[in-house]
C-alpha cells in the first residue's frame, strides 16, 4: 500500500459505447423500409413522387379564381358548423369535468373507479371523431345531431385526459386542510381541488373548442352536418373553384376563432 498507484491519465476514460443509438437507427430503418417498400408497403419512391406532384400541379390551377358567387349558399352550412362546435363543446366539457375527477388518483373515490374510468377514456381516445360520426350517422341518419354527438365524445376524450393529469399534480395542502376540517369527498373536490384546476379547465375547454371548429368542418364529409356536406358535393363534381371558396372560409373561421380564444385565455387565465 505504498507508492505503486498507477499513473492517472489526465483524461477520464471514455464511457463504453452504448448500443441503444445504433439499434434504434436499425429499427427505424427497418420500419421505414417496410412502410415504403413495394411488396409490403406503399411503394414510395421519391422521383415518382415528384413527377406525380408536378403533373398534378396543373389541377391546382383550377382552384383559381375562386367562384365567390357561391358565398350565399355556404353561409348556412358554415353557421351550422359553428353551432355544432358550440353546443358540443359546452356539453362535452361539462361532462368531462366529473369524468376527469374520477380519472385522477387524487380525487377518485377508489382504485376500481379510477381504473375503469381510465380504461374507458383510453378506448374512447383510440377512435377518431369521424368514426363516431359514422356510427351516429348509421344510428340516427344524416344531419347535425350525429355530428354534435361525435364531437361531444371527442371533447370528453381531450378535456378529461388533460384535466385528470392536471388534477394529479395539484397541491395536496388544501385537500388535507379540507379533510381536516371535516369535508366529505365532494366538498373537498369542490373547495380544495376545483379552484386549483379551474384556470386550466377553462384553457383546455377553449382549446377543445378550437379543435371542434376544425373537426366539425370535416364531419359533414361523412354526412354529419355542417359545411362538410358542401365540400363533398363540390369535390364530387370537380367544382374546384367553388371548393376554393369553402376552404378560404374555413381557414378564416379557424383563424378568427383561434385569435378570440387566445385573447380570452390571456384575459381569463
Amino acid at each position: 500500500m505504498t507508492a505503486a498507484t498507477a499513473p492517472r491519465s489526465a483524461r477520464p476514460s471514455r464511457p463504453p459505447r452504448s448500443l441503444v443509438g445504433p439499434v434504434a437507427l436499425v429499427i427505424f430503418a427497418a420500419i421505414t423500409w417496410w412502410a415504403a417498400s413495394e411488396e409490403f408497403g406503399l411503394n414510395f419512391d421519391v422521383p415518382r413522387l415528384f413527377s406525380n406532384l408536378t403533373r398534378g400541379a396543373g389541377i391546382l390551377a383550377e382552384f383559381w379564381p375562386p367562384e365567390f358567387g357561391v358565398v350565399p349558399r355556404t353561409i348556412g352550412p358554415m353557421l351550422e358548423t359553428v353551432q355544432m362546435a358550440i353546443i358540443a363543446s359546452l356539453i362535452g366539457c361539462a361532462l368531462a369535468l366529473p369524468i376527469a375527477f374520477l380519472a385522477s388518483r387524487v380525487t377518485s373515490p377508489n382504485f376500481a373507479t379510477y381504473l375503469i374510468d381510465r380504461g374507458i377514456l383510453s378506448v374512447v381516445r383510440a377512435l377518431p371523431d369521424v368514426l363516431y360520426a359514422l356510427i351516429f350517422v348509421a344510428a340516427l341518419s344524416i344531419g347535425p345531431l350525429p355530428g354534435i354527438l361525435a364531437l361531444i365524445l371527442f371533447n370528453i376524450a381531450v378535456v378529461a385526459k388533460l384535466l385528470s393529469e392536471t388534477v394529479d399534480g395539484v397541491d395536496p395542502g388544501p385537500i388535507e386542510a379540507a379533510r381536516a376540517s371535516g369535508a366529505n369527498r365532494l366538498l373537498t373536490v369542490r373547495w380544495a381541488v376545483l379552484p386549483q384546476v379551474l384556470p386550466n379547465y377553462v384553457a383546455y375547454s377553449l382549446y377543445a373548442f378550437e379543435l371542434n371548429i376544425r373537426a366539425s368542418a370535416v364531419l359533414g364529409i361523412v354526412g354529419a352536418g355542417g359545411i362538410g356536406n358542401l365540400i363533398n358535393e363540390y369535390r364530387r363534381f370537380f367544382q374546384y373553384d367553388r371548393l376554393a371558396v369553402v376552404v378560404i372560409e374555413i381557414f378564416v373561421l379557424v383563424i378568427i376563432v383561434e385569435w378570440v380564444s387566445i385573447w380570452l385565455r390571456r384575459k381569463l387565465v
Binding site: A138, E165, L243
Partner: protein
C-alpha cells in the same frame, strides 16, 4: 374616505366574456336545426348496432386478415407522413425560433406554421393531394405530412427557444460558422425532445390516417366506411377491434420510447404526462399565457 380593503379588480373583461359566451350558446342552441325527436331512439339504435358489431353475429373473424392488412396500411401512411412532416418541419423550426433568427423572420414563420395547422388533414387530402396524385395511400401520406409540418414546426421552435445559450456561445467562440453553431450548439440540446414530439405526432397521425380512407385516401377508413354504409356491422366490429388494439399497442410502445428518450441522459426528467401535456397545451396556450401551468395536443 379610503377603505381598508383594496378595491375589487375590474370585472369588465369577465363580464364581456360571459356575455359573449351566453349569447353564443343561446344562438347556437336556439337556431340549430337538430332533429331532436330522433334523440330518444338513439340508445336503442346504438345498442342494436353495438350488438350486431360485437355479439350477434360475432365479429367476422375470417375478416381479421384483411382488416389487419388495411390497418397496417394506415400505420404505414402515418409513419411515412410523420417522416415527411419531421424532415420539412425541422429547418422551419429553426427559422421560427426567436433566439435563432430575427423577430421578423420568426414571426412570419410562426404565422406560416399556424396557417398550415389551420386546415385539417382530411381537407388537405380532399383539396390538394387527391386532385394532384389521385385516390389512394399516397394522397393520405402527403396530406398527413403537410399537416404535421404546422404542429411539429411550432412545437420544435418552442423547444429551440428554450435552449441553454452556453453551448451556442461556446461554438461561436470556437469559431463555428452559423450552420456549425446550429449543428453543434443547438441541435444536440433539442433533439431528444423534438424526437419525442415526432413520436407523439406519429401516435396522433395513426388516428388521422385511420379515417382518411373515408375520403378515399387509403388505409382502414375506406373499409370502415363501406362496412357501415352497407350495414355489414360484423365487419365494422372487426375493424374497430383491430383499430383500437393496434392504436393502443403503438401508443404504449411509443409512449415508453418517448419516456426513455427524454430521460435517457439522466438530466431533467419530465414525466410522460408533462410531455404530452406540453404538446397539447403549448397548442392550448399558444402565446404562453398559462406558460407551463399544470405541466403542459393534439392533436
Amino acid at each position: 374616505m379610503r377603505t381598508a380593503r383594496p378595491s375589487r379588480p375590474s370585472q369588465r373583461t369577465k363580464r364581456i366574456a360571459t356575455a359573449i359566451f351566453v349569447a353564443a350558446v343561446a344562438w347556437a342552441a336556439l337556431t340549430v336545426e337538430v332533429k331532436i325527436e330522433n334523440l330518444p331512439r338513439l340508445p336503442s339504435q346504438l345498442a342494436d348496432i353495438f350488438v350486431k358489431m360485437f355479439f350477434s353475429p360475432s365479429p367476422e373473424w375470417e375478416y381479421f386478415g384483411e382488416a389487419f392488412g388495411s390497418m397496417m396500411e394506415s400505420v404505414q401512411i402515418a409513419w411515412l407522413g410523420t417522416i415527411i412532416g419531421a424532415i420539412l418541419s425541422l429547418p422551419l423550426a429553426f427559422f421560427g425560433a426567436k433566439n435563432i433568427t430575427s423577430p421578423l423572420v420568426s414571426n412570419a414563420m410562426r404565422q406560416l406554421l399556424n396557417a398550415i395547422r389551420a386546415i385539417p388533414e382530411i381537407l388537405v387530402a380532399v383539396v390538394i393531394f387527391i386532385p394532384m396524385v389521385g385516390l389512394g395511400a399516397y394522397a393520405g401520406m402527403l396530406a398527413i405530412g403537410l399537416h404535421s409540418v404546422g404542429t411539429l414546426g411550432k412545437l420544435s421552435a418552442e423547444v429551440i427557444e428554450g435552449i441553454n445559450p452556453g453551448p451556442v456561445e461556446a461554438a461561436r467562440a470556437a469559431g463555428g460558422r452559423p450552420l456549425q453553431i446550429q449543428r453543434w450548439g443547438v441541435l444536440p440540446q433539442v433533439l431528444p425532445e423534438i424526437i419525442a414530439f415526432w413520436l407523439y405526432r406519429f401516435e396522433i397521425n395513426i388516428r388521422a390516417s385511420a379515417i382518411l380512407g373515408a375520403v378515399g385516401a387509403g388505409g382502414v377508413g375506406e373499409a370502415l366506411v363501406q362496412s357501415l354504409i352497407y350495414r355489414r356491422y360484423e365487419r365494422a366490429g372487426m375493424l374497430i377491434i383491430v383499430i383500437i388494439v393496434v392504436t393502443i399497442l403503438i401508443d404504449t410502445a411509443s409512449g415508453w420510447l418517448r419516456r426513455r428518450i427524454i430521460q435517457g441522459g439522466g438530466g431533467a426528467k419530465p414525466t410522460d404526462a408533462a410531455l404530452e401535456d406540453r404538446a397539447h397545451l403549448s397548442m392550448a396556450v399558444a402565446g404562453g399565457a398559462v406558460g407551463e401551468a399544470g405541466g403542459s395536443e393534439t392533436s
